[in-house]
């Protein structure tokens, strides 16, 4: 199994403060990986570093190609979709325009139109609200819109930053089910950063635990879920 994303010796900085210290891990193609950790541990920073949204040093390779020196938009064009914290919805635009924006770098108009229909199949509630201003959608609906927008890119890798944040448990369950479906059917590799460890570990194949900018644990999702320390710190039992 080839590594789609390979990260080596990643250091990231916010001004003078170093947030990541020599981070290293890789993602196998077609897998779902989750990055767990407490608030401020560096999970979001990791995702931002992959997309060059934060100052960093180290080597990140996507499908063999180094990402160093590329702008965020160019990294995205390589096939990496990032669903940021807080969703990053284009609130003043309609739902459908948000989806169109997800595909704005694609040349195939017909493909885009059919993909929008597929998104409406995945997320029927978006079809209902297709002409509504995205800012008026509920939190859960905006999260689905954000995921759908990311999928419109036809990405090979999807990064999700705390998709469960602020959402009701039932909605989160639905969302994770859809993520699993996307991973299996559309063959999208997924890296999901979560505080909600339980659901993330159910969805994922692999897991890493990050603490103060360093990876402290790695293994399969089952291994991590059964780990004594993880259970105490992140699963509450």
């Amino acid at each position: 199994m080839t590594a789609l994303l390979n990260i080596k010796a990643l250091n990231a900085y916010y001004g003078q403060v170093q947030a990541l210290h020599g981070l290293a891990f890789s993602l196998t193609q077609g897998s779902v990986t989750t990055l767990l950790g407490a608030n401020g541990a560096g999970k979001t920073t990791t995702l931002r570093a992959i997309c060059n949204m934060v100052r960093s040093t180290g080597a990140i390779e996507f499908d063999g190609a180094p990402l160093a020196g590329r702008s965020t938009e160019n990294i995205v064009r390589l096939g990496i979709a990032h669903v940021p914290q807080g969703r990053g919805t284009f609130t003043s635009m309609t739902v459908e325009e948000n989806l169109q924006l997800g595909a704005i770098t694609r040349g195939d108009k017909v493909g885009v139109v059919s993909d929008i229909e597929r998104m409406y199949d995945h997320f029927p509630v978006l079809k209902q609200r297709y002409s509504q201003q995205a800012g008026t959608l509920s939190g859960g609906e905006q999260q689905m819109l954000a995921v759908a927008r990311a999928l419109m890119l036809r990405p090979r890798l999807m990064l999700l930053d705390e998709p469960s944040f602020g959402l009701a448990p039932l909605i989160v369950r639905d969302l994770f089910k859809i993520l699993g479906k996307i991973n299996r059917e559309d063959k999208v590799t997924i890296l999901v950063v979560e505080q909600n460890a339980q659901l993330a570990l159910e969805l994922a194949d692999h897991a890493y635990v990050i603490e103060t900018g360093r990876i402290v644990m790695s293994g399969t999702a089952d291994e991590i879920a059964n780990n004594e320390d993880v259970r105490k710190s992140y699963l509450g039992y």
């Binding site: 608030n39 401020g40 979001t44 920073t45 914290q85 807080g86 705390e162 944040f165 602020g166």
Partner: protein
């Protein structure tokens, strides 16, 4: 970073100057002070006059620094307050025969009230909207000063001639030199006052408002009061500057206080370093001397040369003189260590 942190309001329109950098070190301050005190003894009267204007505009830029750098409110209307101060002094001196020194606190007070009142409707505006409102004020002022209705007092389009005072107690110095030292004392007093104001509770309230108005209000800062206060103080100081300017230049006329002056003061603030009070004098020097230099380089293209010099300054030191001072301090620190 949690999603909550991310949702905090976006970057403030005016960036904060670190508190430590608000004033010069003692050594530098004393050197500058010594230079300001001793220089007039060695130069001709015209240069002394220019130095007086340097201080006058420096005060005006300082006032703008308090308003924009301090409380985060944009103003392109300072020329209006400057004009009101100038005319107040002129009218009191020429029509009421008042002593020039007494006119200044009155000019300051009247402008303070004017600024405070203007601050009221300004409360509802911010950013470019406030800039436009102050811009409107500045463009209106020359026209208002020309009104036939008050021509008896203001002298209409011609304006008023102002008598330059002699040095008191028969002191052996020229009018220019006396006026310079008089202005210097006032400038120092206002500078010290301003520094202390920004360090005080009111100053902290200003800066809280500048950085995040909603948070400041949630913390119990009376935003309305402090915003109008900032306008008032800024206008008051500008008014005093206007009065001094009127006396130095020896006349007031409506077309001397146009929007061009307001824009120059703005440029002076940026070149000096927004919010950095000592930079005010650097900004003032820029707006007084660079146009002359530009004209010297090319009479026909003086505007273009000025623009190019301004661009060079903002490319090389986008944070103005404050940036230069920080670099200098850094270098000096390195020198001391080695």
């Amino acid at each position: 970073m949690s999603a909550v942190q991310e949702a905090v309001t976006d970057a403030p329109a005016v960036e904060a100057v670190p508190k430590r950098a608000l004033t010069l070190g003692t050594g530098t301050s004393l050197t500058v002070l010594a230079a300001l005190i001793l220089a007039p003894l060695f130069v001709k009267n015209f240069i002394i006059f220019q130095m007086t204007m340097l201080l006058v505009y420096g005060l005006a830029v300082l006032a703008l620094n308090i308003l924009t750098g301090g409380s985060g409110q944009f103003s392109l209307g300072q020329s209006a307050f400057y004009a009101v101060g100038a005319y107040t002094s002129a009218i009191l001196m020429e029509h009421a025969g008042m002593n020039y020194a007494l006119t200044l606190p009155i000019a300051g007070l009247i402008c303070f009230i004017f600024g405070f009142l203007f601050g009221q409707p300004a409360l509802r505006l911010s950013g470019v909207y406030l800039a436009l409102a102050t811009f409107a004020l500045a463009t209106a002022m020359p026209q208002l000063l020309k009104l036939g209705y008050i021509e008896h007092w203001t002298g209409g389009v011609q304006g008023l001639v102002v008598t330059k005072p002699d040095a008191p107690f028969g002191l052996p110095m020229s009018q220019d030199m006396w006026l310079y030292y008089f202005t210097l004392v006032i400038t120092i007093a206002i500078y010290v006052f301003s520094v202390n104001l920004l360090k005080s509770r009111s100053g902290r309230a200003f800066m809280a408002i500048r950085d995040n108005e909603i948070a400041a209000s949630a913390m119990g800062v009376d935003v309305a009061l402090y915003k109008t206060l900032a306008f008032g103080v800024s206008a008051g100081i500008t008014g005093v500057a206007g009065g001094l300017g009127a006396i130095a230049v020896q006349f007031v006329a409506p077309d001397g206080y146009t929007i061009t002056l307001a824009i120059q003061l703005f440029v002076g603030m940026v070149v000096g370093g927004v919010g950095w009070l000592p930079g005010s004098i650097v900004g003032s020097a820029f707006i007084i001397f660079v146009p002359n230099i530009a004209e010297g380089i090319s009479k026909g293209l003086s505007g273009a040369v000025f623009g190019v010099i301004l661009f060079l300054v903002i490319f090389l030191v986008p944070h103005g003189a404050r940036q230069v001072a920080l670099v200098a301090r850094h270098l000096l620190g390195k020198l001391k260590k080695s």
